[in-house]
């Protein structure tokens, strides 16, 4: 049996760990709420922009700008979105696992020049470096809440690459926040722009259950007037200045920016949620450990006392 002092030390360190992980759990929970709130505050803009695109694409004379045009897919860019910091349970590894699975299923040779890889988050950069692929760009060290100016850099980089024909398709691997307890990895195609994919991304901003989930009901039942039948039929009356082409050309980068922003915010919220769960498990474990150790401590203390009494009585008998 271990010495009493040693057990005591172990109990106190387990208690310390428990305190720390509990604090981290609370911090992560607050951060999760905050990043959810940030994601939701941009929803109005997203819906307006979607409507706007829908209206414009209904115009017959509209010519799609290069960013919205589809072409034959030869080259693909992969964006792997992970966190900067660890201690988030299986958050990063599940993104990487999905990515690996996709590579195997589609028989992708990662060293082929037709594929580019972009890392978002320090962990993702480390992972891609370990795989020894050629990394086109790294976006890392962005803090807990990614700023619009930071996601804009990624959006611009992706759009530029698309326009200069570095890639014909962009796939994003990222965590999607479904509920506080459940996140899943989604593979989204953000370029070429598909209206349905765009719409889905925006719908997914609202979590399924828990706080903010009440908004999910509203967004299905209250579409703007222009998306109703009556609004559609009157679309021809629109006066578009200076021309639909120019407006669409201006709109396209904003759409991509918006989508990238949402994907990253979603990943942020998921990261905090995953960290909260990991920390909760850690503090539960620490608590259990403290209980077990206390039991051991008491048992050995009792054994020591019993031994001493035996020694004394034995000594008394000899006398």
């Amino acid at each position: 049996m271990e010495s009493l002092q040693k057990t005591k030390n172990r109990i106190s360190s387990a208690k310390n760990i428990n305190q720390i992980t509990k604090a981290m759990e609370l911090v992560a929970a607050t951060k999760m709420r905050k990043s959810q709130a940030i994601a939701l505050s941009s929803r109005a803009y997203a819906y307006a922009a979607l409507d706007f695109l829908a209206n414009l694409s209904k115009l017959e004379e509209a010519v799609l700008p290069p960013l919205l045009q589809k072409r034959e897919i030869k080259k693909t860019a992969f964006v792997v979105v992970a966190s900067d910091k660890g201690l988030a349970g299986s958050f990063n590894s599940s993104v990487f696992r999905t990515f690996e699975k996709y590579l195997v299923e589609n028989k992708i040779d990662i060293f082929n020049d037709n594929y580019s890889f972009i890392a978002f988050g320090q962990k993702s950069a480390n992972y891609l470096q370990r795989k020894k692929v050629k990394i086109a760009n790294v976006f890392a060290k962005l803090g807990d809440f990614t700023q619009l100016s930071e996601t804009r850099q990624l959006a611009d980089f992706l759009s530029n690459g698309y326009l200069t024909k570095q890639w014909d398709r962009v796939l994003v691997f990222s965590m999607n926040f479904r509920t506080a307890l459940r996140q899943e990895v989604l593979i989204r195609q953000i370029l070429p722009v598909e209206f349905e994919v765009l719409k889905k991304t925006i719908k997914e901003i609202v979590p399924e259950t828990g706080k903010f989930s009440e908004l999910r009901e509203n967004n299905n039942t209250s579409p703007s007037p222009s998306s109703t039948e009556e609004g559609r039929s009157r679309i021809i009356d629109y006066l578009v200045e200076p021309s639909p082409e120019i407006v669409l050309k201006e709109l396209a980068p904003h759409l991509i920016e918006m989508q990238v922003y949402h994907i990253i915010l979603e990943a942020n919220a998921s990261e905090h949620a995953a960290r909260r769960m990991a920390m909760k498990n850690a503090s539960d474990n620490a608590e259990k450990l403290v209980g077990d150790l206390t039991l051991i401590y008491n048992k050995s203390r009792q054994a020591a006392i019993t031994r001493e009494i035996i020694e004394i009585t034995a000594g008394a008998e000899v006398l």
Binding site: S42, F52, S224, P225, Y238, E241, L251, H254, E257
Partner: protein, 81 residues
Amino acid sequence: MKLSVYSLKKILYEGDAKSINCQTIGGEVTILDKHRPFVSTLKEGVIRILDGENKAHYVNAKSGFVEVMPTNEVRFIVEER
């Protein structure tokens, strides 16, 4: 007319408006009640909103879009400066 001004970060204005003045690519435009359906691209400038009580509100826009809907609703999506 009903007016909403959205940016990616927040809702900048939502409510009634009497007149809206903004800088579009084609030049300065003032939108009054019951304007015909209209779509345009904004250029850098200030959007001036006159609400129901004749109080002026200003929004600083870097770029953005304006849409006047047939239902007498106006919607701006802007990038803030």
